[in-house]
Each structure stands twice: as structure tokens, then as C-alpha cells.
């Protein structure tokens, strides 16, 4: 048993407090905004110059001048603001973005993050990934627990080029919620139907099981029989 992509995003959404300023990376992070309950006010930042981003624009209602960092046509919510790149990255690098929710290729036990350069990728591109990883005080990673070949992505040491060292605070996967602590990784929750031992068996880095460790509370629709694809 494991969470769907939506399940991972849902679990992250539960942890974002009202009033938080949040930047969502591409992939699973993008889904997070769909699971913020009505009435909980969260401010989404897009690094190309939006604070207070809303949903993707409905077909026929796109504004040519209003795109997000993924170049999708989006909307804004009341109270939004627009600004230039130096201001936008002042927000990021200056530590003002409370949460950066990012995808990952690998995470190490010490919080090192690798998510910008895949081994097969011949043309490199970094975008705003490093600024977010270095800048936000709370880097939350969402990813499948293992590669599609079943290899662990939570490692003793990253093998891929780093995005930023020591930056990850929490890891949300289809199998578990893991905190990065000064004493190493701490298993806080496992997906419904799993247990700590199973999670460890898919994790290279050693996991300390939190005294409060429990089964994750997510609606049944977010739990799948098999592992989800990346």
C-alpha cells in the first residue's frame, strides 16, 4: 500500500499553517494547492513575480501577460501582488518564503538535496531551484520513496550533484513522512497498511522511529495498492 501523488500533496497541504507564504515546485508540489481547505488562507508565490497566485486559468479566460514560473496561464486571488525578479528572489533568498515544496531525485540523511540535474540529462538547467533550496527556512520535499526501479532515493549520501546541502526539513513520500533532524532521519508517519520496518527496508539511510510514529491519516481515495510512478 502507498499514497497516490495526490495523497502526498494532500499530506503536505495538511501541514501548511494558515497565513503561510509558499512556493510550489513542479510535479507533485503543484498539486498541493488543490488540497488547501476552503477558509485556510495560504499565499502562493511564483518566482516570476506573483504573490497570491490562484488556480490555473480556465480555457478561454487566459491572460497572455499572467503566467506562473511553469509558463502556465494562471489566475490571482484578491490581495495578490506583482513584482520584478530581483524582488521575487529577495523574497526567496531572504528567507521570506516560509515553505518551499520541492520535488527531489535524492535526499541524504543530513538534509542534502539533489533535484536539479538528472544523470541522463545532457542540457543542464537550474532555474530557481537552488535559490529556493538555499533560501526557504522550510524546504519540504515530495517524491516517490524509491525510483521506478525500486531503488531507495533517501540515501546516506547523495550521488547526484547537490541543489543545496543541509536544506531539507521534511520528506513526504508515498510511503512515509520523515523529518530531518540534527540526529538524522526520524520516521514520523507511514502510509496506511505499511509499518516502520517496511519503510526502512526501502530506505538506505537509517531511520529513527519517532516515539509518536503513527499511521498516516489520509482519505482512502489517496491510498493505492501499488507504488505510484514519479
Amino acid at each position: 500500500m502507498s499514497l497516490t501523488r495526490e495523497g502526498i500533496a494532500y499530506r503536505v497541504a495538511c501541514d501548511l499553517p494558515e497565513g503561510a507564504y509558499v512556493n510550489l515546485g513542479i510535479g507533485i508540489p503543484t498539486l498541493v494547492s488543490g488540497f488547501i481547505p476552503e477558509g485556510k488562507e495560504i499565499f502562493f508565490h511564483s518566482e516570476n513575480g506573483i504573490l497570491g497566485m490562484g488556480a490555473i486559468a480556465e480555457p478561454g479566460h487566459e491572460d497572455i501577460d499572467l503566467i506562473n514560473a511553469g509558463k502556465q496561464y494562471v489566475t490571482v486571488r484578491p490581495g495578490a501582488s506583482f513584482f520584478d525578479h530581483p524582488t521575487s528572489f529577495s523574497m526567496i533568498r531572504g528567507g521570506h518564503i516560509d515553505y518551499a515544496v520541492l520535488g527531489a531525485l535524492e535526499v541524504a540523511a543530513n538534509g542534502d538535496l539533489a533535484n536539479w540535474r538528472t544523470p541522463g540529462e545532457k542540457v543542464p538547467g537550474v532555474g530557481g531551484a537552488m535559490d529556493l533550496a538555499f533560501g526557504s527556512p522550510n524546504v519540504l520535499v515530495t517524491m516517490t520513496h524509491t525510483t521506478n526501479k525500486g531503488k531507495p532515493k533517501i540515501l546516506n549520501k547523495c550521488t547526484l550533484p547537490l541543489t543545496a546541502p543541509h536544506c531539507v526539513k521534511r520528506i513526504y513520500t508515498d510511503m512515509a513522512l520523515i523529518y530531518v533532524t540534527p540526529e538524522g532521519l526520524e520516521l514520523r508517519e507511514y502510509a496506511p497498511g505499511l509499518d516502520a520496518k517496511t519503510v526502512q527496508s526501502h530506505t538506505e539511510a537509517p531511520l529513527r522511529v519517532s516515539p509518536d510514529c503513527r499511521e498516516m491519516k489520509v482519505p482512502a481515495k489517496f491510498v493505492a495498492a501499488a507504488q505510484v510512478a514519479t
Binding site: G52, P78, G79, S90, M91, H96
Partner: protein, 233 residues
């Protein structure tokens, strides 16, 4: 629902502690966050470090805070207001410290703190007495001075309009140091002419996005900072 508005300026200064570094926005005395500063005076904290372009005239707001002996140190570019100030009196008696910073360097140091930078090289002051003791470096044939970011514990500013999530809009020449100061202090409070419903400030007209602002209080300008008081009408 997020609501950053407060009912009184007292609430906005409640957290200020002895020894705090306080950004005081505005340029010239009419644009000071006068009501917040008066509340701070009332509160009676001491040993403050104040960051402001000038030194505050008269006996209210910044001038009053300094006259009350609450300020240990001023970081400013132009503290020698022609009219004479409480700061100048205390400085001549050796009772207040001064760190003199060129105006552009002061603005840029504050911006650098808000932008998460570790420092920058500026040409300003290279080879002058204001660069004494500072690291210099020749870059592409020109001499530069290394300047470090300047952070505040609190920033107090005055803006024109605000909404409940802290977006600020300024009129005319009100932006000045307020914009960078809001980005570089741990706690930012703005007194504003007008609190408007969310969405009334167009997204293009937000000069300081709410992410940089913690608290808002709608309050009339301090009576000593009005046009009537300033031009004598």
C-alpha cells in the same frame, strides 16, 4: 482568515525590547511613522539602536525618542539637520553614538539584508575617511568598499494604504527607505492613512507585498507632521 490589522499603535510596539535595533522609515520628519514612534516613547524601552536617514527634529516622534534618552546609537546618513536636533545636543555631550553611512550605502545595506545577501562592494566612499578600516578591493580597475547587510529587529514605517494581509501602497515620495526596511526586519509594522478591503489595491500597485509586513494600524498622521504644522498654516 489572515488579519494583520491592529486596533492601536500600542499593540504594534508591544514586543520591542531594550537594546533592539529599530528601522525607522520615512525621509524627512513629515513621513516618519510618528504615531508608532510616540507609542514606543510611551512604552519606555531603552538602549535602542535607530536606523534612519536623519536624526528627527522637534520633540515628538524620533526627535522625542532621542530627547528622552532612549537611543544608544543612531545609524544615519544625514543627522546634522540644519535646524538643530536633540540628537545633535546629545552627540556633542558624548551621550549618543553615531554610525555615519552614505545614503545610498545605507539603503543598499538594508536591501542586502532583506535579499539574503552576505554583503556587496560599492564604489561610494572608497579613498575617503568613511572607508577607514573597511575592506577594499579593486574590481575591473576600480576601487570598491565592502559593506555588510544591515538587519533590524523591528521596522516601523508609514504608508498610504494597506489591506488586511499587509500589502502596502505609497503616495508620491513616500516609498524611500520604507520599501527596503520592510524586507529586512524581523517584525514590521506599518501605520497607514487608510485600511482598504482586500483587492482594492491593484496587484500592480502593491509597493510592499504583505509577505514583508506583520502588522498594520490605521491612524491619522501625528499632528506635528501635518501640512498645517509644517508650513505654519
Amino acid at each position: 482568515m489572515v488579519d494583520k490589522t491592529l486596533k492601536s499603535v500600542d499593540e504594534a510596539v508591544a514586543g520591542v525590547f531594550d537594546g533592539a535595533t529599530i528601522f525607522c522609515g520615512g525621509f524627512g520628519d513629515t513621513q516618519l511613522p510618528g504615531q508608532l514612534l510616540e507609542a514606543l516613547r510611551e512604552k519606555g524601552v531603552k538602549d535602542l539602536t535607530i536606523v534612519h536617514n536623519g536624526s528627527g527634529a522637534g520633540t515628538h516622534a524620533l526627535g522625542g525618542l532621542i530627547a528622552d534618552g532612549r537611543v544608544r546609537k543612531l545609524i544615519a546618513s544625514f543627522p546634522n539637520n540644519p535646524g538643530g536636533t536633540s540628537f545633535q545636543d546629545l552627540y556633542l555631550k558624548g551621550q549618543i553614538e553615531l554610525e555615519l553611512v552614505p545614503q545610498g550605502t545605507l539603503a543598499e545595506r538594508i536591501r542586502a539584508a532583506g535579499a539574503g545577501l552576505g554583503g556587496f562592494f560599492t564604489p561610494t566612499a572608497a579613498g575617503t575617511e568613511l572607508a577607514k578600516g573597511k575592506e577594499t578591493r579593486t574590481i575591473d580597475g576600480r576601487e570598491y568598499v565592502f559593506e555588510k547587510p544591515l538587519r533590524g529587529d523591528f521596522a516601523f514605517v508609514r504608508a498610504h494604504r494597506a489591506d488586511r494581509i499587509g500589502n502596502l501602497n505609497f503616495r508620491r515620495t513616500m516609498r524611500n527607505f520604507n520599501v527596503p526596511m520592510c524586507t529586512a526586519a524581523k517584525f514590521v509594522a506599518a501605520e497607514v492613512d487608510e485600511l482598504v478591503p482586500l483587492g482594492d489595491i491593484s496587484p500592480e500597485d502593491v509597493h510592499v507585498p504583505g509577505i514583508f509586513v506583520d502588522r498594520i494600524v490605521q491612524v491619522a498622521r501625528h499632528p506635528m507632521q501635518t501640512l498645517a504644522a509644517t508650513v505654519g498654516r
